[in-house]
């Protein structure tokens, strides 16, 4: 089970960040070629990311790249670099319609074929407009390359003609819609960035809120937010104990040839086992299992 709690944005034009991002151990490194890169440095950022993707430092960490829109002069060149460079995921910016995904998919297939790439690159669609939110359900299920959809809140609130607040009520509809669309399509759901990097308390509050809603993780803009987020996603001692007992009970049921088994008077069936496995995966990633697993 691949955990994707933290997706750290790394500007492709920031050499120090590109060289060091892996040290902070986010679940996914998200190199950015879009908004954080000046127009005059699009070519240099593209080649920097292309070579970073092949560097040993990123061999054992999931890599994603936010490319420029295909209608820009940079989109196709970005795709060429990212697919040939070996990225795991392409983040498609400003996804408003199913057509946006399908056009991107067609270009990806062409490039994969041209360069002989065997492993299919995955797609993450960023929803950043009212139209995108309205179409989220159809977008989420339109391609088997889609591994998730993500809320891009900054552009979304601008489209909504409002402002982002710490309390976040302006994002309620979008978060609900994106989460439901992702779950219905059985793909990941990611929340937007929290831009005030100095406000740790506010970040933790928002992280707890989106975890409670059911989001798999969150995009991050500062490495300092990684540990805070992982702590929020780490299960409690009680949750770990419960999960270990569930897995033990499930093993026992299997040995005895039983479909279901009871634990403390409660039935343990497939959804309960899946939840226990998810809890243990988070515990392991947080280094909380020790020798108990």
């Amino acid at each position: 089970m691949k955990l994707r709690r933290s997706m750290l944005f790394v500007p492709g034009s920031n050499t120090a960040m590109v060289c060091n991002a892996f040290i902070y151990k986010p679940d996914t490194v998200m190199f950015d070629l879009e908004d954080s890169v000046a127009l005059s440095e699009k070519d240099s950022a593209r080649l920097m990311v292309y070579h970073a993707l092949g560097h040993w430092a990123y061999a054992n960490i999931e890599t994603a790249v936010r490319v420029n829109p295909l209608e820009s002069p940079y989109g196709i060149l970005d795709l060429e670099a990212v697919i040939r460079g070996g990225a795991d995921i392409i983040r498609l910016p400003k996804t408003d319609t199913v057509e946006d995904v399908l056009v991107m998919e067609k270009e990806i297939e062409r490039i994969e074929k041209a360069c002989g790439r065997k492993e299919k690159i995955k797609l993450l669609a960023a929803i950043e407009s009212a139209q995108g939110v309205v179409n989220a359900v159809s977008i989420a299920s339109c391609s088997d390359r889609l591994m998730g959809i993500a809320l891009g809140a900054e552009d979304y609130v601008r489209d909504l003609r409002t402002e982002r607040t710490k309390e976040g009520s302006e994002l309620t509809a979008a978060r609900s819609q994106i989460l439901l669309a992702a779950r219905a399509a059985k793909i990941n759901a990611f929340d937007s960035i929290f831009s005030d990097v100095k406000d740790k308390e506010g970040f933790i509050k928002e992280a707890e809120y989106i975890k409670g809603l059911g989001f798999d993780g969150k995009s991050l803009i500062n490495p300092n937010q990684i540990t805070l987020l992982h702590k929020v996603y780490a299960p409690s001692e009680d949750e770990i104990e419960w999960a270990l007992e569930v897995i033990e009970a499930a093993k026992e049921a299997k040995t005895k040839g039983l479909g279901v088994v009871s634990l403390d008077g409660r039935m343990v069936d497939a959804p309960i086992i899946a939840r226990a496995e998810w809890t243990l995966a988070r515990a392991e990633a947080s280094g909380l299992l020790g020798e108990r697993a």
């Binding site: 070519d43 292309y50 070579h51 970073a52 092949g54 560097h55």
Partner: protein
């Protein structure tokens, strides 16, 4: 063979980066290297530079490289960016990078 037609540069003088300047030149390859780690990595940077030029089929160029302790992939990326800017081609032959 690719021809360097104009002056170009790429990179920065920040720590962990490298600043590469490219100039048209008619008499082979000339490299001026200034590096914070020249004593240890000078030969490796020269070798990487020559390999990069060979792959890009560039025989005549003058390069001024100011290295601030960049990793090998950063040097390669900056060299290629500066050279592509100097060549002035819009399209990229990925097999040469």
């Amino acid at each position: 063979m690719n021809g360097v037609r104009q002056n170009a540069h790429a990179g920065t003088l920040e720590s962990s980066d490298v600043f590469v300047q490219v100039f048209p030149h008619n008499h082979g390859v000339e490299i001026e290297l200034n590096s914070d780690v020249e004593e240890i990595y000078g030969d490796a940077i020269h070798e990487l530079t020559h390999k990069t030029l060979k792959r890009m089929k560039i025989d005549n160029v003058r390069l001024v490289i100011q290295d601030k302790g960049a990793l090998d992939f950063v040097i390669k990326a900056r060299l290629q960016t500066a050279l592509l800017r100097a060549i002035g081609n819009e399209s990229i032959d990925w097999s040469t990078l």
